[in-house]
């Protein structure tokens, strides 16, 4: 806050409200944080409150009260509230349809064990940009890279693929071929170009990345996502 008096008044009032047994269960940290993101990042917002509140008060509004609000048992134990019980039953019944590993609290409550690992949001195999990147580049992977699987190759650098042989007199052909297929694969998905992108610009931008070689596959997928308006964009 810009005014020190306002700041003192705000935190003094908040501290007194948190002394009230009834009110302190209804004060949740961060419920209006989206508005403040225009002015600061989450970490700044988080640190600001940690610095100005006691440890107990911060724990109360940032952890205990939200848990209680969502229907989780308190620190002294107890049962799930009916709303959360219903949600757990629904999730449990549809466990196979998640497509990703359930959250830790769900596994803890239900005893569910999932071998599935969650895909990073920027490397989801259901995102067209990722599918094109992986499918087109896979032919240039070593057998060890292929054995590592799609997830392990998220951070594989382009220079680690077999097309990357800059001393080959035909390196330019290899780059042309891969760039055409990367852009072509994206077009095959029916995705239109984003504003200001055309096919020549797209191919040349991808060629530039392929020639440079320092980009990771996840970054290449991000590049395609920035060129094409896919139905399922990357986060």
């Amino acid at each position: 806050m810009r005014n020190a008096d306002d700041e003192q008044h705000y935190f003094r009032t908040l501290a007194s409200l948190l002394q009230d047994d009834h009110l302190r269960r209804r004060i949740l940290f961060g419920t209006d944080s989206w508005m403040l993101r225009m002015d600061m990042t989450e970490s700044v917002y988080w640190e600001y409150y940690r610095r100005h509140l006691s440890r107990e008060d911060f724990e109360r509004i940032a952890s205990l009260a939200p848990r209680e609000f969502l229907g989780f048992p308190g620190t002294d134990g107890g049962a799930l509230r009916p709303n959360l019980e219903r949600h757990v039953r629904y999730l449990d019944a549809n466990r196979d349809a998640f497509g990703a590993a359930p959250a830790g609290w769900f596994q803890e409550i239900t005893g569910a064990v999932s071998a599935t690992k969650r895909d990073p949001a920027d490397w989801s195999q259901w995102a067209p940009a990722v599918r094109c990147t992986y499918r087109m580049c896979k032919q240039y992977m070593s057998s060890a890279q292929v054995r590592g699987g799609y997830r392990a190759n998220r951070t594989t650098r382009l220079s680690e693929l077999t097309y990357y042989r800059p001393r080959d007199p035909n390196f330019g052909l290899l780059v042309d071929t891969l760039a055409l297929n990367l852009v072509g694969c994206s077009e095959d998905q029916g995705a239109p170009f984003r504003e200001q992108w055309t096919r020549p610009h797209a191919v040349e931008r991808v060629k530039s990345a392929l020639e440079d070689g320092t980009m990771q596959l996840v970054e290449l997928a991000g590049l395609l996502d920035s060129i094409f308006r896919f139905e399922e964009p990357l986060v």
Binding site: M136, Q139, V203
Partner: protein, 294 residues
Amino acid sequence: MMRHGTRPGWRAPAITLLLLAAAAPAAAQVACPAGQDAVSLGPTYIDDVDGGRALGAAGAAVWCSAGYDTRPRFPRVRYSGMQAKAIVPFSRLSLPQNLEASAWIGYTLALTERAPDTGGLLDEAESAFLFDYGALAVGGRVQYESSTDFAEQAVLGGIEVRWVNPHWRLAPSTVLTLNAVRPVSSETRDTLGVDPAVHGRLGVRGYWLAPLGRWLELEVDAAYFFGFGMDDVVADAGLDQGAFIATDLGLVVDWPVGGVRLERIFVGYAHGQQPTDGQERKAWTLGARFGTRR
């Protein structure tokens, strides 16, 4: 470098350069240069290292067009371009190759066909290609060159065919070139009584890159060239044919060294003759390659 000229300065090397232009090794792929279309013009100070000095202007204009066709079966690129370069001294001064105009056209064809994405887990998906035989390129270039006073003029032409498939380890990345020079006028040749016939060179180059286990890789670069219609003086210098091979055994590493990374340590051996050199030479090399990777 041999001198045949009748004038001081760069005249004689200019002729030599024109002769050797046909002998150049496999040129870069016929494609659009980085930056593509550009026009430049600026003042230049010229010193011909033989006492001649002049102010002049240097200019260049490049136009290049690339047409990208991303169709699933045989995606392709068409390159076509033109370039003109000139260095014009404001006073009389002979310079080699100070006026050039060239045009080129090239096609790159990916010998692939993409398979449709049928969905499913990526690790269980079938190949993304119905076939993949690498990439093929054909290209051609014609060039006109002249000295400042138009006393030496020549037309050069060349075609090239390239093919590469990194999936076939034993098959070399291949370049075939055919270059020829047709002198249009040459006072020097007239003085020497040399026939201004077409002369040229056929070149073939193969490149292999073979990984040997996880850390080692072997590179082999071999080339052979054969000249035809060359002047005796050039043939006598041993520039009419020759072979060259270079091998390189590299240890692939990725070690941080200060702010850069050591990427490769290699030992190499080269033996043979480059088209622009009449002598057979051999050399051992030991080196390291550094990069600025993130």
